[in-house]
Amino acid sequence: MTPRIPDKSVTAQGNYAGSVSRFLAYAIDLFASSAVYTLVLAAISYVVQIVSGKQVSWNRQDIVVVVTYVAWEFFYFGYSWAVSGRTFGMAVLGVRVVRADGAVAEPWRGVVRSLVFPLSFLLLGLGFLGILVQRERRALHDLIAGTAVIYAWDARAARLRFLAREAETARIPPGG
């Protein structure tokens, strides 16, 4: 079954991204960054075991693990937003960070955005409410960093691919 790509996906490009896309992008990022962090820890354990012969085990309550994890998350999000305006999860969902007026966001905004991002969590998650109720769908960290999130995927090409697949399927004779 070929997935349908409606016109609304095409016309939505450049518009403020909605809550579902942003949440899914964040979930993918959280999973990807945690997976990479875990793999790195596993690699370190393996190397230490090979070199010293000692078994190294990481504990979630270990302050070193917590600090390095938090630092890694800041780096993962801050670097991605500063360099390209999108993280891996945002690239998958086709959304990107721009300046509040729609122009390309300066790298420092990406860094600031990642630094103030936890604030949206710390206020009982109320910081994220802006994505739903704020007129420009900007969360607290967006307001502080002067950024916004928009749809930026090639929906037009996706729609053409969908139409092409549909036409191709229609041309294939039954049982052929």
Binding site: Q13, V20, G102, A103, I150, L160
Partner: protein, 200 residues
């Protein structure tokens, strides 16, 4: 007989000379331009069977005499193209029908994307649909009088440089040419005009 000719020949010659002289005098005295101006050419042309006239013309022979290359060499193609509204022309092309009904669709289907691309297209499209559903609920609950802006100012008005185009950035949708709704897709939100300069 000879006597008769001796009289008539000089008279005829004289009459000829007199007639020529009279015609010269009359033509010099008459303003032909003024007369032509008074002629109703339309009435004259109405009596002419142009089709019958053209039927007698051998167009092929006529064109063989014309050096089309030299004629075309004198044509300023750039000036000609400047007068053509290419964007308007392209806007009239039904790309969807083009892809559906021509081999272009097969070329696109074979050259672009695999299962992963297909899944990604579907996931993104589904997410956009869910976003719009959630947004409709929230807007309905908030009962806003003024519709919220659909896109940042620079992307709506084209006042500023749009974001750096990603490799898969789409072309800007036309604001005054809303796309036709899908048969099974929910109606587009009238309060949300599409971004004009989005992601060129």
């Amino acid at each position: 007989m000879n006597a008769h000719r001796r009289i008539t020949d000089p008279v005829e010659g004289m009459a000829q000379r007199v007639a020529e002289r009279v015609v010269d005098l009359v033509l010099n005295a008459v303003d032909l331009n003024a007369i032509i101006k008074r002629v109703d050419l339309n009435a004259v042309l109405a009596q002419v069977d142009v089709n019958a006239l053209l039927a007698q013309v051998d167009v092929t022979a006529l064109l063989e005499k014309v050096d089309l290359n030299s004629v075309l060499a004198q044509v300023d193609v750039s000036a000609l193209l400047d007068q053509v509204d290419i964007n308007g022309l392209l806007a009239k092309i039904d790309v969807d029908a083009l892809v559906r009904q021509t081999d272009l669709g097969a070329v696109i289907a074979r050259s672009s994307g695999g299962v992963a691309t297909e899944a990604l297209d579907a996931a993104r499209s589904q997410a956009v649909g869910l976003d719009q559903t959630v947004d409709r609920w929230v807007q309905g609950a908030l009962r806003r009088k003024r519709p919220a802006p659909s896109a940042p100012r620079a992307l709506l008005d084209g006042e500023d440089t749009p974001p750096a185009p990603p490799s898969d950035a789409p072309a800007a949708p036309e604001p005054d040419a809303p796309a036709a709704p899908e048969p099974d897709a929910p109606a587009a939100q009238p309060s949300e005009p599409p971004a004009r300069e989005a992601m060129k």
